[in-house]
Symmetry: D3
Subunit: 162 residues, 6 copies
């Protein structure tokens, strides 16, 4: 027996939990302006990625084997242009009132948004890169509030207040 288990969370209290994840896609000189100005031939990647990220967060228990099925109460994806890196940074806020979660939902939402931008940008540039997908903020549950030691970008604070 390998001993995998979707661990028992039945004894935990339901508390409001929030998490923010973020990651970047490096687009390069060809694709960046087309994404940023929403001029890609296949359509506006940023809008599509917002929606795909929300749907992706809902699919987390289907994708990550030991994640519990949980009832997300809020998901929001926000994109920030990073012209100095020819990159887009995707932020995903996920909120629940549950016994466990919600980091993986935020991470899966951000990751799905970035992969969607990739899909629309790849006819223009093949050498794309997703970088620095990380958890920025976590609140609720026994372990309290956690902020990434590298700090909380302003955009993440803005999402928390949204």
């Amino acid at each position: 027996m390998s001993g995998f288990s979707m661990v028992d969370v039945g004894g935990k209290d339901k508390t409001r939990r929030r998490a923010i994840a973020a990651g970047k896609i490096l687009l390069g000189p060809e694709a960046y302006p087309l994404v940023a100005e929403r001029r890609l031939p296949k359509g506006d990647a940023l809008t599509l990625a917002e929606i795909a990220g929300i749907q992706g967060a809902k699919k987390t228990p289907d994708l990550i084997p030991l994640c519990h099925p949980i009832g997300l109460t809020k998901v929001k994806v926000m994109h920030v242009l990073r012209p100095e890196e020819q990159a887009v940074e995707a932020f995903c806020l996920a909120v629940i009132t549950e016994r466990t979660g919600v980091e993986m939902e935020a991470l899966t939402g951000a990751s799905t948004a970035l992969l969607t931008i990739w899909d629309l940008s790849k006819p223009v540039e093949a050498a794309l890169k997703i970088d620095a997908l990380r958890l920025l903020y976590k609140e609720g549950g026994k372990s309290g509030t956690w902020i990434n030691p590298e700090g909380l970008p302003d955009e993440a604070r803005q999402l928390l207040d949204s």
Copy 2:
């Protein structure tokens, strides 16, 4: 940023919510009697549609991007023959004890039932039509009980008592 968001419902109370949706499929003189008498070559469309409607209601958060994943506590689909219009009317009742919903679940259930009748009837008649898909009744949550201004058919009252 387009600003889509699966909006925060964490602050709302969980209350019992019920909704009924209904819609019609106009079958025409060839297909109507075969559906009504359950004699279609591919099988009894009404029974199949009842089951597909229940399953469809459960898939609502997968289909409608900003719908929250919610734990349906009851779903029931009922078909009523409308011989004067050569039509079948599908009613779907959906019930939850949640912070949000349950109109979209009832509508998706009714819509899936009607599309399933379509699928079995189309070898007989191509010019089918789904009409008058609407919300009939909504109860629970902050806004209280709402009844469609066109009135509540007896069949809907019967579903509420089922």
Copy 3:
């Protein structure tokens, strides 16, 4: 035995098949301008519905019990404003190179798009209605080309050429 069956299509040839479905959502005087001008509080319903419609078409075999899993080669959703009816009409084109299909995929795509517009409009107006969901055009397979006897709107022709 009820005799349902996902019928054998293995003996049919793979041919290019195209179908267009369309349907309307009647929004009323409050919601219509907000949808048309993309000013709804929850975001641009028309863009969201385009994407949801494409995703919905892909889910057809999951929703409609006797539909075969097929490899869609193209899906496109187009919305047309109908100010005289305070309505939006959704058109969905679906294309495959397969042994069966593709009407149900086009219908499911149009239906999912309309339900998504509903979801974003319902905070403004509860008495919405989806009407006239119908097949407009079908091409390919043994039965050849079929055009809805009520005629093919210009927008559908435009989709066929897109």
Copy 4:
């Protein structure tokens, strides 16, 4: 009307419910040692089946039409070798704090685990058999604790304590 319904559980209390299901796959003299010693060409079937069983339990409401969508709080799959029968017995424990369930989740988990072992063993032996899939234990809800009249194997007791 056939009268199918995902029945109303909204009036029931949420209680902690646990269920254990088990079943055997008879592998025969060729496949059994390869499975037991984790030497199958396609990989370690037992580890793969543990994970597939957990994922399968989560898909129960998608597979079994009248099952309610519920929030599983724990799922664990355990395999026990039965060399005297050249068989593997799969046990699945499922736990929820809900108004209904959790037998079907445990059964679907065990069944999915056994089918996964089948998939990896079939290149070696076609005449496999799944036998004795049954509920062993059920606890919580109005009907209290139920133990299969054929008795509760030690492995099931061990799972309850895990």
Copy 5:
């Protein structure tokens, strides 16, 4: 590295492949007549199971980790009453024109049908049992036709001709 892989089937030819799987659910003296006479309080389990089995077969690649996504061309589920054992036997025929498959699809279809009968019968009898889930017949692909050494029941022959 554990070395799991959804193995490469790209070099194989697409051939028509058929498989039949079957299994029994032992219902006991209380539940058997209610299932057989379609008088269960929750509805006709046999009809529901036919449909669930078809849908279940389509979900095989989602449930069994190393199964390839394949385009089923036919699925049919048939139930046969076994009064001498107070049992129902479910047969599932699955057909494809593909490079691999279709045993697991037939087995998953039969298994889902049996679990659905379980779900409707469990309010009447908890000590149910699924037994003798096995492959009866396989045709197509490099290995040719295979018949279960225990023989091919008449009902399976009937399904092959359906």
Copy 6:
């Protein structure tokens, strides 16, 4: 109209296409040895991630809105330890014989594997990071073979030969 479309690939030929994607998860001094030595409390993250990656690749058209549903013929996930960075690098090979694809499938597979390692490592370390998710290799289709300008690691060559 925003003009999104799952673009028409019906006119393209079906060719064998292969793609490899890779990405790293930086685990830090606490989590890295536990992952590398497969001693995490929740189980062997690397084995779980291999399987989750294969399943994730199959879900690509469900996650990425404009991706076509395609029939993957092979998927394989391989992990390579990078002790100098306290990281694991996940490689995903995806193969199809289709009209389009298969980069997004390889990327989604690698991304899902990395998120699964994250899920099992997060009780030990919250400040994880996924970095350098990129396409390494693409073969087949009109544009021929493409190799990432940063070069093809030996492990990717090994996967191509597997």
